[in-house]
């Protein structure tokens, strides 16, 4: 199949795809193959101390695997990838989930606002997805943090070099999740974040790492809401540029 983001690729040699994975042996190979059908960017798979065959499957599929010695959680793994991207001087980092939820066919639209300099970060938003529980969670998180983005929990994002640098910093290390804390950090650094509407597929395997049990959701919500409330902007409403691909 012909690469679909040829024209984007020509102008950006330095883009990397970062995929944090925890026990995704069944899905990871297909996810990587699907990405390969659309582009040739290097792929980093950050293995969050999986107990299954994720490392081998991802290596065989052609990704560079970064194996964490102990589990750091979704954001800890993601930051590992971003730190490597920063060290190696990549200009753009695309982050995706390892469960096949994100459609590599949307990469071009997602990259467009960042590559064109309209925004520092773009987030692939799919608000149709998700249960009632997730919708309530989103609403609460938006209210608490003052963020106006549509899909703040989406892991399908494009960061530019500036965002990569901020997110590799020590300050970002103690965050646990990539949603409210990360977005507020980026916002406080004066970076522009946009939503891009994308299609999302059903997870090939398993469920969300967070939205699976009430207790985990409760702890997650307490942490996230506290973060949102303590770090929200006091004055000046969040400047947002709308760009749909």
């Amino acid at each position: 199949m012909a690469p679909r983001i040829d024209e984007v690729q020509l102008s950006l040699p330095a883009t990397v795809i970062i995929i944090p994975a925890f026990n995704e042996a069944e899905a990871i190979a297909r996810v990587i193959e699907e990405i390969r059908e659309h582009c040739d960017f290097p792929i980093f798979v950050i293995d969050d101390a999986s107990t299954d065959d994720t490392v081998n499957k991802a290596t065989l599929a052609g990704a560079k695997v970064i194996p964490l010695a102990t589990q750091l959680g979704a954001w800890g793994a993601m930051q590992t990838g971003l730190r490597l991207a920063q060290r190696d001087g990549y200009q753009y980092a695309i982050t995706m989930d390892a469960d096949g939820q994100h459609d590599a066919a949307s990469l071009k639209e997602l990259m467009h606002p960042v590559v064109k300099g309209l925004a520092d970060v773009s987030i692939g938003a799919c608000t149709q997805r998700g249960s009632k529980l997730r919708k309530i969670a989103w609403l609460l998180m938006k209210q608490a943090s003052g963020l106006t983005l549509e899909d703040i929990t989406s892991g399908f994002r494009v960061y530019n070099q500036h965002a990569i640098q901020e997110l590799s910093s020590k300050r970002a290390t103690l965050l646990d999740y990539q949603d409210v804390g990360v977005l507020l950090l980026l916002q406080s650094c004066g970076l522009t974040i946009v939503d891009v509407k994308v299609r999302m597929q059903d997870r090939q395997n398993g469920a969300s790492r967070i939205f699976r049990s009430w207790l985990i959701v409760f702890c997650y919500m307490c942490q996230t809401l506290l973060l949102g409330l303590t770090k929200r902007k006091l004055a000046r409403s969040f400047h947002r540029v709308r760009a749909t691909g």
């Binding site: 560079k64 695997v65 102990t70 750091l72 800890g76 730190r83 290390t173």
Partner: protein, 118 residues
């Protein structure tokens, strides 16, 4: 009689703390603070009357509450400092784990190149 009981308790706690510092079980940084605590324990143990005079001086009508209030305040500060310290250690630990993972990935790549090269 009372000052003998409290004196024994105070001095034994002080001796225990100094022993721990001497045997390098406590980092000197924490040790310094604990030596002061040990001194306070010993002095207040032997002379419990100090609290009464301090209470009279500060206008506290029920002297024991002064000691307890000061102790709780110091404990809260100490616990807060411990959590600050712990957050810092967690952050360092996490960044170290990340760096080790990155280096391990580099090593794997080098090994693979090396194998393919021969």
């Amino acid at each position: 009689m009372l000052s003998i009981v409290t004196g024994i308790i105070g001095i034994s706690v002080a001796v225990l703390i100094i022993l721990l510092v001497r045997r390098d079980r406590l980092h000197v940084r924490h040790g310094f603070m604990w030596i002061i605590v040990a001194l306070c324990f010993a002095v207040l143990g032997v002379f419990p009357g100090i609290i009464d005079s301090l209470a009279r001086l500060t206008g506290v009508s029920y002297p024991p509450i002064l000691g307890i209030t000061v102790a709780i305040a110091l404990l809260v500060i100490k616990i807060l400092m411990m959590d600050l310290e712990r957050s810092k250690i967690e952050m360092r630990n996490q960044r170290l784990i990340q760096r080790v993972a990155i280096l391990e990935a580099d090593i794997r790549e080098l090994q693979l190149d090396h194998r393919n090269g021969h």
